[in-house]
Structure formats: structure tokens, C-alpha cells
């Protein structure tokens, strides 16, 4: 066996081991108890993959690799320390980085082979390159836009923006890029091919931006999941281009993860992919917004504290408002106060509460609330009639009963947490304006609902103060 053969064997063996470790890494995520191992396995797999690739004889220049890796650490470490409320935008940003990497590698491979030896640009490989570049750059700009919306950057509109012929234009652009890609598959090395390739890149970059413009905050959990799947698929395409099975397997694992999360998010909103991407959710309703249809009953903090004290089961329903106000630590104090009085406290988590899948769980876990008290919508709904108080903290659409019966509502058919079936409802809300989706919530006008207006953190803090006051209220 020659030296090159030996290296080849070592590299392939490392890739096989890395694949196994990646699968185990994801497998261990099935329980918080084993999840610690998931990261170790992932790190080991990635380290193995990097080293195995680096020792190959065709990697001859090392300086730039070292510089890029050091720079990656320099940026990556601070990015991992962001506050947990900023995790959705960090996630979107890292999808953008993933897309950029795939797009750049695909472009680099194409131009290199074009220059040197166009016979490498077989039809299969061109298919893969075109897929990689389109997916990569769409993910890049799409995720950047999503991150900008989540970060609430001023010049990126938060609300869905629509204009005439938007969908026709967007789909047309994508179709045009695909057709151009097909032409390149057939004629990869004509004098005009490089220009056509560059045009595909420009189209993909524009499509990414245009795709996210009409999408509002309430749809972000789904959009982030879809972009996650795209990032994985672009890695798969890179694997096809480079004939590298590790890229294909790891990318497929990531792609299936994004796919499953997107499907769960879509089901949780009773909507289809197409509807999320092209539906411009909330746009029509936003206009009529403030009109209102009934009368809110406002409650004082003292009164609310009394209601909570007399309860034996309190279900807390958190939403994006809790994340924005960073109220999770105050919520934990409230949880402690109630538990001290022997009151059972559970959290009802809607799959799309917050701005990304699992957002609420992470925030509450950060506040040291045991995960055994975090219940999914379908686990808690049967218990809702027994709840004495449903405390809604900054959630809106996920508790709107209009989803059950109002066919004209944009959220009709979406499964909701049955807050209205509790004996009383306390709702903490930042202002009297409608939620992110721009829809009035009839729960707030219900007879048994009392509203607490104000910033979630302040209101919950006040409640805690009342409950912990000198020897309690009564």
C-alpha cells in the first residue's frame, strides 16, 4: 500500500467514524439527560473531519487555513455568548454563514474547473453545483434578512411588506434562475457560461431577500426551520460536487432536522409551506388593527395577586412578550412564590410560541425552572378546565379562541392552548394594540378574563412583590 493509499484509507475511515458520531449526537438529543453527550460527540466528529481533511496531500497551503480558523474562533466565541433572548437571530445569522460557505465553495469549484479543465464539469456535477449555489446564496441573504427582522433593525420592516405581483415576481425569478441553471448544466463551458453563472448568483441573492420581505414575525419559527433545511441541503449538494460522502450524510441529517421542525411548525399553525412562504400572514388584518370590538376589563396587581393566591392550579402560558421583556427570571420568582403556598404551577408551551422552535423552553430553563413542569400544548389542554387561573404572559395568537370557530380569521384552524377553558384568565399585555399577527384576540374580551397592562417583567415583578409582601395578603 502506497503512502497516498494509506492516507486515503485513514481519511475515509475518519469520515465513517465522524458520520457515526453525528448520528449518535442527534440521537442523544432525545432526552435532556443524555443531551450533554450530544455536544461531545458532535465536537469529536467535527474535529475528526477537519483533521482528516487537512492531512490530505492535496491540501498544500496552510497559512490561510490557520488564519481562517483563528478568525472563526474569534467571531464564534462571542457569538455563542449572546443573551438567550437573542438566540433566534443568532441562529438565523449562522444559517446565513452556512449558506455563504456553501455558495462560495460551489462558485469556487465551478470557476476553478472552468478555467482549468471543463471536462470536470459533467452534467451531474453541474446539477449539484447549481443546486448548491442557488440554495447557498438564497439561504445566505434570506437568513440575513430574517436575522435583521428578528434583531428589529430599523431599516428592515418588521411587518410583512407586500406589493402587487409579489409572488408571481418571486417565483418567476426563481424559475428563471433554475432555467438558466439548466442551460448551464447542458453548456457548462461556453464563452458566456461564466457570466450566466454570475447571473444565477445575483438572482439567488435577490430571491433570498425578496422571499423574506413579505414574512412577518409570527412565521419566523417556520422560516428559520426551512432555512435550516436549506443550509443542510446545500451541504448535501456540496457533497455531490466533491464526491464526499461525509458532506452528504451530515448535510442530510441537518436537512431532515430542518424538514421535521418546519413540518411541526406548519402543523402547529395549520398552514402549508407555500402559505408560510407566500401568504404574507397578518398583512390584511394589520390595517384594521386598533379598531377593537369589545371592552377590556383591566385588573390591578393586588387583585391579580389575590386570584393567584386562592388558586390550586395555575397554568402559565408564555409567549414572545415574555422573551422581549426578559421576564423569565421574574416568572421564576412568581413560580417559587406560588409553589411555596402549595399551589401547583405548570407551563403550557405552544410549539410556535416565541420566534424559533423551542424558544420558550430554553428561556424558562435558563431561569432554572425544572423542565418537568414545561408541558406541551397537547399534554396540558385536557387539564385546562381544572386550572383555576391561566396566566398569559405576552402570548397572543396561540391562545386566541377565534382559531377554533372564526373562519374569516387568518389563524382559523390553528391548534391553540385552551386558556379560555380555565376558570379565570389573567393576561399580561404590553399595550392594547393587537399582537404580532395583527389580529384582535377575543380571549381578552371574555367575561372571565382580566387584563394586566404593562411590560411583562414589571407586571410579574409587581405580582411577586405583592405575594411576598409582609405575611402575604390575607
Amino acid at each position: 500500500m502506497s503512502y497516498a493509499d494509506a492516507i486515503h484509507a485513514v481519511v475515509q475511515l475518519s469520515y465513517v467514524v465522524a458520520t457515526v458520531l453525528f448520528v449518535f449526537s442527534l440521537h442523544w438529543m432525545n432526552d435532556p439527560k443524555t443531551a450533554g453527550r450530544a455536544v461531545s460527540a458532535g465536537v469529536a466528529a467535527m474535529a475528526l473531519a477537519v483533521v482528516a481533511t487537512w492531512i490530505q496531500p492535496e491540501v498544500a497551503h496552510h497559512l490561510w487555513i490557520v488564519v481562517a480558523i483563528v478568525a472563526g474562533f474569534a467571531v464564534g466565541v462571542p457569538l455563542s455568548r449572546v443573551p438567550l433572548t437573542a438566540v433566534p437571530q443568532r441562529t438565523a445569522l449562522s444559517h446565513a454563514f452556512g449558506g455563504l460557505a456553501a455558495g462560495l465553495v460551489g462558485s469556487a469549484e465551478y470557476f476553478m474547473w472552468l478555467q482549468r479543465d471543463p471536462s470536470h464539469l459533467s452534467q451531474f456535477r453541474m446539477c449539484a453545483i447549481v443546486a448548491e449555489v442557488i440554495l447557498g446564496f438564497v439561504t445566505f441573504t434570506g437568513s440575513l434578512m430574517a436575522a435583521g427582522k428578528l434583531q428589529e433593525i430599523k431599516w428592515i420592516p418588521q411587518r410583512p411588506v407586500t406589493y402587487p405581483l409579489q409572488n408571481v415576481g418571486n417565483i418567476g425569478l426563481l424559475a428563471l434562475a433554475a432555467v438558466l441553471g439548466l442551460v448551464l448544466v447542458l453548456y457548462p463551458a461556453e464563452p458566456w457560461s461564466a457570466a450566466a453563472f454570475a447571473l444565477i448568483i445575483v438572482m439567488a441573492i435577490s430571491f433570498g431577500v425578496l422571499l423574506i420581505i413579505p414574512i412577518g414575525g409570527a412565521d419566523m419559527p417556520t422560516v428559520i426551520s426551512i432555512l435550516n433545511a436549506y443550509a443542510g441541503l446545500s451541504a448535501v449538494a456540496m457533497g455531490f460536487v466533491l464526491d464526499n460522502k461525509l458532506l452528504i450524510t451530515a448535510g442530510a441529517l441537518d436537512g431532515s432536522s430542518g424538514l421535521i421542525l418546519s413540518i411541526i411548525m406548519c402543523k402547529a399553525m395549520n398552514r402549508s409551506f407555500a402559505n408560510v412562504l407566500f401568504g404574507a400572514f397578518g398583512q390584511t388584518q394589520a390595517v384594521q388593527g386598533e379598531a377593537g370590538q369589545g371592552v377590556y376589563k383591566a385588573e390591578t396587581v393586588e387583585g391579580a395577586a389575590q386570584m393567584l393566591e386562592m388558586a390550586s392550579l395555575v397554568v402559565i402560558i408564555p409567549g414572545y412578550g415574555m422573551a422581549v421583556a426578559q421576564a423569565q427570571h421574574k416568572v421564576r420568582e412568581l413560580y417559587d412564590q406560588l409553589r411555596q403556598r402549595g399551589i401547583a404551577v405548570k407551563f403550557a408551551i405552544h410549539p410556535v410560541a416565541g420566534r424559533m422552535p423551542g424558544h420558550m423552553n430554553v428561556l424558562l430553563a435558563e431561569a432554572d425552572i425544572p423542565y418537568t413542569d414545561l408541558l406541551e400544548m397537547d399534554e396540558i389542554n385536557s387539564d385546562m378546565p381544572q386550572a383555576d387561573v391561566a396566566l398569559v404572559i405576552g402570548a397572543n395568537d396561540v391562545v386566541n379562541p377565534a382559531a377554533r370557530h372564526d373562519k374569516s380569521s387568518p389563524i382559523f384552524g390553528m391548534p391553540i392552548i385552551d386558556a379560555d377553558k380555565a376558570k379565570t384568565v389573567l393576561a399580561i399585555k404590553r399595550s392594547k394594540s393587537p399582537g404580532f399577527a395583527g389580529i384582535d384576540n377575543e380571549l381578552y374580551f371574555d367575561d372571565k378574563t382580566w387584563m394586566l397592562f404593562g411590560d411583562a417583567k414589571n407586571v410579574v415583578g409587581e405580582l411577586v412583590k405583592q405575594l411576598s409582601g409582609p405575611s402575604g395578603m390575607h
Partner: protein, 150 residues
């Protein structure tokens, strides 16, 4: 849900079909298999170093099914860390970036593109694993004094 994965696989399978005549046995370990299937095909385009398309399509398809099976069992509590973990895993693009950046006789501009891609992937690897670890450390059970997973 598998339908989407299947469609993607079929697209690549179709592309592989179109390319089938180019398979010439350059890939040693699977060539006999591919060869028997394609013996009848004409090998006109065989001058280009070929790829083993079919086995790649197989790998993609099987990996997708493994992924669907594994991810379906992931605890719903952990979807946010799952996403940051898969972020880090999809930064496996680092492999392609290293090959492009370090390539022996790659032109300067190509290597620069590779270096940017390598930087982007490395950022994802580092921040993805670190933040996943940080978030997972927060999930604790009822036991007083914390005591989540190691």
C-alpha cells in the same frame, strides 16, 4: 414528509441517469457494482474523471431516512439546542472549504473564496457547539440544587 426528501433524491437520481455513460470505474471500491449495471451503456464521455453518482444518491437517501428517524425522537424541549447543534453539524461544509483554500495549484481568487467560506463554517462550528452546550446545561430536573446533566 419523506416526499420532499424523495423528490430531491429523485432529481439527483435523474441527473445521475443522464450522466450514467460517464461512469468508468475510477472509483475503485464500488466500480464493480456500478459497472455491471451500466455495462451496456456507451462510454463515450469516459475521459472525464467520473463520480460514483449512484452510490452518492443512495447515501443521501439513506442518510435522510436515518435523519428523519433520529430527529423525530428528539425531545420537544430541546428544539432550540437541536437547531444550534445542527447548525454546527451542517458546518461540515468546512471540509469543502479546506480543500478549496489549501488546494495545491488553486488560483489566488479561488483560495480567497475558500478562506471566507472556511471562516464562515468555522464560526458556525465554534459558536454552534458552544451555545448548544450552554443551553443544554440549563435544562434541569426537579432535584434541589440543580443537578442537570453533566
Amino acid at each position: 414528509m419523506a416526499a420532499i426528501g424523495l423528490t430531491a433524491a429523485l432529481v439527483f437520481a435523474a441527473a445521475a441517469w443522464a450522466e450514467a455513460p460517464a461512469v468508468d470505474g475510477a472509483i475503485v471500491d464500488t466500480a464493480p457494482l456500478a459497472g455491471t449495471a451500466l455495462d451496456t451503456a456507451d462510454t463515450a464521455a469516459a475521459h472525464a474523471p467520473s463520480l460514483d453518482y449512484w452510490s452518492m444518491v443512495f447515501v443521501f437517501l439513506l442518510a435522510t431516512f436515518v435523519g428523519l428517524g433520529v430527529i423525530r425522537r428528539v425531545s420537544r424541549l430541546l428544539y432550540t439546542p437541536l437547531m444550534s447543534l445542527t447548525n454546527a453539524i451542517s458546518a461540515i461544509a468546512v471540509v469543502g472549504a479546506i480543500l478549496v483554500t489549501g488546494g495545491e495549484d488553486h488560483p489566488l481568487a479561488i483560495r480567497m473564496m475558500g478562506a471566507v467560506a472556511l471562516f464562515a463554517s468555522m464560526t458556525n462550528i465554534v459558536s454552534g457547539f458552544l451555545i448548544t452546550n450552554r443551553m443544554l446545561g440549563m435544562f434541569k430536573t426537579n432535584r434541589p440544587g440543580g443537578g442537570g446533566q453533566a
